[in-house]
Amino acid sequence: MSYELKVDDKETTDRAAGLSQGLLGTAADRPEGVLKVTGRATYAAEDMPEGTAFGVLVRAPAMGRVELGNAPAVEKLPGVLAVIHDKRMLRNPAQGMAGEAPVQGVAEADYVGQPIALVVAGSFEQARHAAEVMEVRCLGEIRPVSPGAVEPEVPEKKQSSMGDLDAAMAAAVHKVDATYSTSAMSSAAMEPHAALAWWEGDKLTVRASLQMLKYNRAELADSVGIPLENVRILSPYVGGGFGSKLGVSPEVVAAAIAAQQLGRPVRVVLNRRQVFETITRRSETEQHIRLAADGEGRLTGVGHDALVSNLPEEPFSEPVTQATPFNYEGAARTIGHRVARIHRPAAGSVRAPGEAVGVTAFEIAMDELAVAAGIDPVELRLRNIPAEVPGTGKPFSSHMLAESLNDGAARFGWADRAAEPRARREGEWWIGSGVASAFRVNMLSEAEARVVLGPEGAIVETDMTDIGTGTYAILGQIAGELLGLPQEKVEVRLGDTAFPPGSGSGGSIGAASTGTAVWLAAQEVRAALAKEMGCEPDDLTLKDGRATCGNISRDIAELISGESLEGHGHVQPGDASSKVKQATFGAHFAEVAVNDVTGEVRVRRMLGSFAAGRILNLKTARSQCHGGMTWGIGMALTEELVHDRRDGHMVNRDLAEYHVAVNADVPPLEVHFLEERDPWTGPMQVKGIGELGICGAAAAILNAIHHASGVRLRDLPATPDKVLAGLEELG
């Protein structure tokens, strides 16, 4: 049996409010936390079976037809088992939710850094040396590597227009017309991508570091050319993903092919440089934004045109304008999307694809409009909150942007902020503050889960992953809440394709999607318990291992008399999204100091106020927002993948030269959640929280830089050289 739910309509009853265990919304610890911090949680590259061989990928140093000049000699090097140059190997990772192989092949290098062979040896050191001495030649011209060097594609479905923006701009009392750019960025997850593959007959098992196993299983099967049912993927622990592990990646397929060919387990771990250049990056963007407003700062027109890039044949392009159709008022609206097909490493999803960079640029433009109109930037935003999605009549499922702005402003002390820039100076430092709204679309995805209640407690099983987000914690809380068990009596088992397929981790879908599947599975178990108790499920109270119905109360273990009860949950998105617009909202506030001598920027404090439906776990949700805001600091100030202008290769491909924010860059971060229930997201009324914290965070910092120093930067990141150029201009 299975409890099925298709989310077509709203569910106004807060069903969780009627439950008794008291686990939802608490700051419960991660059940696997101790294993992780004591090194006992095994990641993809650990737990090697006896006889594991080691593979190292070889990169293309140029573009064109690949020749491996000395492969026979390399194969004779000490310890080397094989040089694998197999047409099934991947050019780049699959895009999120692809469910099929990405572009394959090693005969031709489409970008510098593309993996074109795998050297396998008895030790890692032997394989690494052999890979280094491999003489790879690429016989071809360097193809265009710069977005400005090609005529971009203009996909018809991604252009939209309503009203007359040009007329609105012409009639505007206040306006902004500017171009913004954001840099290419890397997820830079702590755990490098790794795979450990072995075969038993025609069955392939892979330990890998991946986010969405049901899709990854299909991608791997399709890549290797075997039936889906012969593939099992295990990813119980994933050391950070941020989108970089959404799709199956080159090391996974290479390990599977090598293990098949050699008849022994093969491990392939990407080194840090390979993570940077082999795994999908966030595209750089160029965004032309136009805002037209009346005398009161009310938007009458919005234009947002984005240019992004990707390799030929990649279906993904950074959806920069994803929040623009619904962010603010503005009857005239023109949205454009262009894709430059160039030969840099592939672009793909990186935390909050679209909004992370699109909201950031838009929110800088809003700050410029506030300055132009002489209106407080919080007030300007409040004046432009739409009652429904502009021009469509479609209502929002829930919408707490105004509350977020007001709550954040009050807590941050916004009222004390000087209206004019360059109003506060401490020694060499200009001090100022900035605000930005946060928007992120909310999505539900199909998910299944199994819950088994036995005498010792409950077990939750799904192939869902925990990429550091807190999935183990929240799924245990949900099952414990419904079954009346303390969290330690619920064991959550994740990251195994032998379990029912969950949603996977990505796009902030996990909590609402897989969480609801667990909810449904546990409801099925509750119904069975109610039957045992002889009452209706709604009349049943489960708490601390006891079932109570009217004046009858029994121990649950005794009630099921040593047997176990199983429930299966299955949730699918219905047509709710055609009836309402679902998104999460928030507000970022930042105070920065800008050094007048050097152009260095230090963030002094940051505060985020967010609304994302029911918050299942205060601690893990807050950590997600801390992470997003920290990423915002990186995007604002330091992170930039540098591509060589001549051949597009990544120049700064290690953690010394690609600058993520370090501890010293991150000030105290304050996170507040607003009480919200979204009736359109299923019985728990939750929305995703994994990505909201990055959306707009960098804009609050850039806007604060302007308020502090008077320097308006439209080209991120705001490194000292750029800030200094602005300071010199101001004199």
């Binding site: 280094e132 001598v597 230090r602 202008r645 120049v651 010394a656 370090v662 860059d665 000292p720």
Partner: protein, 324 residues
């Protein structure tokens, strides 16, 4: 990484003998050498481990301090005598790398750390420093982290050290034990070589030469400032850094020693800058003149052009602080 022989030196005098050979390298903290070996940018056939030699002491000598070659960056920065009399060195050390790296990195090793030019680290691109005569991929490429002073037709790689910048301002001398057992002492400007047409030769060290220590003379000035500008608050190399050691008398600069990081192919100091400051009353015009002198022969690319206004501003601020 290629296979190599490993020898643990147990006797300082013998270490120089064991260290002979064009393909032999000494290793102490290994914070830079091991990375380079893994990438096969460097591929020594033999490593002589000097980390257990008794070179980890800081002693008073000739009116100053003698720092053993294997004193770690962390220990050196924390030494009370360094903090009291050579604070510029302490600050420079703490501005470099990360806590973990400073715990391993040594004084001698820091002097010999290689450039962070990304093309030097990329064996798929030509580099005259890595493979003499091969060409330079940095020129015409991405050069934000490159040098503007002391560059040549063949190389624009930057010297990345913070420590060595402070040491240059402190008139440090590098003590080198030769293969024959004799010890010589070299001023920093003698120790380091400009790239010229041999960018692969970075110092005067020859086969078997072992840095045994660094001597700091008594400080010439009590006003010491180290300022480093970088892309993030920690764990980033300098865009521009400046070390100043200044002595004031009667409102005039009686003595000035100013050294720079982030600008030169070696830790930079220009005697004309020091001379222009000495004897003068501090003023903005004077500091600007010093900056003009410093940068008079600077060669910039589109990537490094920002360093000139930045260096100018940092020099002015550092001198204002040191002479205030």
């Amino acid at each position: 990484m290629r296979e190599f022989d490993y020898v643990r030196a147990t006797d300082t005098a013998r270490a120089s003998v064991e260290g002979q050979g064009a393909e032999t390298r000494f290793i102490a903290g290994g914070t830079n050498l091991l990375d380079l070996m893994k990438l096969e940018v460097m591929a020594p056939s033999k490593l002589v481990d000097i980390s257990r030699l008794p070179l980890d002491r800081i002693e008073e000598a000739d009116g100053g301090l003698r720092i053993g070659a294997t004193v770690t960056n962390s220990d050196l920065a924390a030494d009370p005598r360094i903090r009291a009399s050579y604070p510029v060195l302490s600050r420079a050390l703490l501005a470099g790398a990360s806590g973990q790296l400073r715990n391993k990195a040594t004084t001698g090793g820091n002097l010999l750390q290689r450039t962070r030019c990304p093309y030097f680290y990329d064996t798929d691109t030509p580099c005259n420093k890595r493979s003499p005569g091969e060409g330079c991929a940095a020129m015409g490429g991405e050069t934000r982290n490159h040098a503007v002073l002391g560059t040549s037709e063949t190389c624009i790689a930057l010297h990345p050290s913070d420590m060595a910048v402070a040491m240059r301002a402190l008139d440090a001398k590098v003590e080198v034990q030769g293969a024959g057992g004799e010890t010589n002492s070299f001023a920093m400007e003698e120790f380091y070589l400009l790239p010229s047409d041999t960018p692969h030769i970075e110092t005067i060290l020859e086969s078997g030469d072992l840095i045994t220590g660094v001597h700091l003379p008594a400080p010439r000035g009590d006003r010491q400032v180290y300022r480093k500008v970088r892309d993030r608050a920690s764990y980033a190399f300098a865009l521009v850094s400046t070390a100043a050691v200044v002595k004031m008398e009667d409102g005039r600069i009686a003595d000035a020693a100013v050294a720079f990081g982030g600008l030169g192919t070696m830790p930079w100091r220009d005697p004309e800058v020091d001379a222009a400051l000495t004897g003068e009353a501090p003023s903005r015009a004077l500091f600007d003149k010093a900056a003009d002198l410093l940068l008079r022969e600077a060669e910039v690319t589109d990537g490094t052009a920002f360093k000139l206004p930045l260096a100018r501003r940092v020099l002015r601020a550092v001198l204002e602080e040191a002479t205030a």
